[in-house]
Amino acid sequence: MSTEVEAVQQLDFEAVKQIIPQRFPFLMLDRILEVRPGVCAVGLKNLTGNEWFYQGHFPKRAVTPGAMINEAIAQTGIVFFHYSREDDAEHDVTYLLGAIRMRFLKPVWPGDQLRLEIVPIRMMRHSAMLAARAFVQDQVVAKGELLLSAKPNREL
C-alpha cells in the first residue's frame, strides 16, 4: 500500500467535532468523505427541511443561505488545513477565515446533499489559500476561493 493511500482518511460526525470547534447551530459538516493531506478534502452536509435557517430564509420558500454554504466550505477547509499542516506546526490554534470569494451558481434546497471539495492553491505554515467547489449530485452549485489562518490561541 502506498503512502498516499494510507494518508487518506474518512471522518464521521464525532471525528469531525474533534477538529471543528463549531457546534449547533453552526456546525455545517456531517462527514468528511476523504482528506488527503496537502492534496484535497471532500466534506458532506445533508440539508434537511428542519434546518434552523430555513425558518427565516425564507418563510414561504426555503432556500439555503449562501452564508451557510460558505460556512460548510470553510469548515471543510479547516479540516483540510488541519491535516495538511506540518507536524511541528503549533496545533493549539483557532482557525480564522480571512477572506472568501464565492460564486453561487444554483440554489440549494432542503433535501439536497452538499459535497464540498477543497484543493490547495498555496499553503504556508500559518495560512492557506484554498480553492473550493460545492456540488449537489454532479452539479456545481458554488465555487470560489478562501483564505484561512491558524492563529495560536496564546495570541488571541
Partner: protein, 81 residues
C-alpha cells in the same frame, strides 16, 4: 518600458489591489507590514497572486526575506527568468 520596469509596475499594482491602496500611495521601499499594514493573510494572497500571474513557485525560505514592495519585485525577477 523594459521588462524589469514592467514587473515593478505590475507587482506594485497587484500589491496595491490586495492592500486596497492606490498604486501611487506605494513606494518601492515601503515596508509591507509596518508601513502598509499587510497581515499574514494579505501576504499569502500577494504570494499566490504573484505565483499565478508569473507561473512561478517562490521558495518559502526566500519569502522570509521579503519585507518591502521592491523585494517582492526582486524575488519575482529572480524566478521568472
Amino acid at each position: 518600458m523594459d521588462q524589469m520596469q514592467c514587473v515593478d509596475d505590475e507587482v506594485r499594482n497587484l500589491v496595491a489591489g490586495i492592500l486596497e491602496l492606490e498604486p501611487s500611495q506605494i513606494e518601492g521601499e515601503a515596508r509591507l507590514v509596518q508601513d502598509l499594514g499587510m497581515d499574514s493573510m494579505m501576504a499569502l494572497e500577494i504570494i499566490a497572486s504573484v505565483e499565478r500571474k508569473y507561473k512561478v513557485k517562490l521558495p518559502e525560505d526566500e519569502l522570509a526575506n521579503v519585507k518591502t514592495v521592491n523585494s517582492v519585485s526582486e524575488i519575482v525577477k529572480r524566478h521568472v527568468h
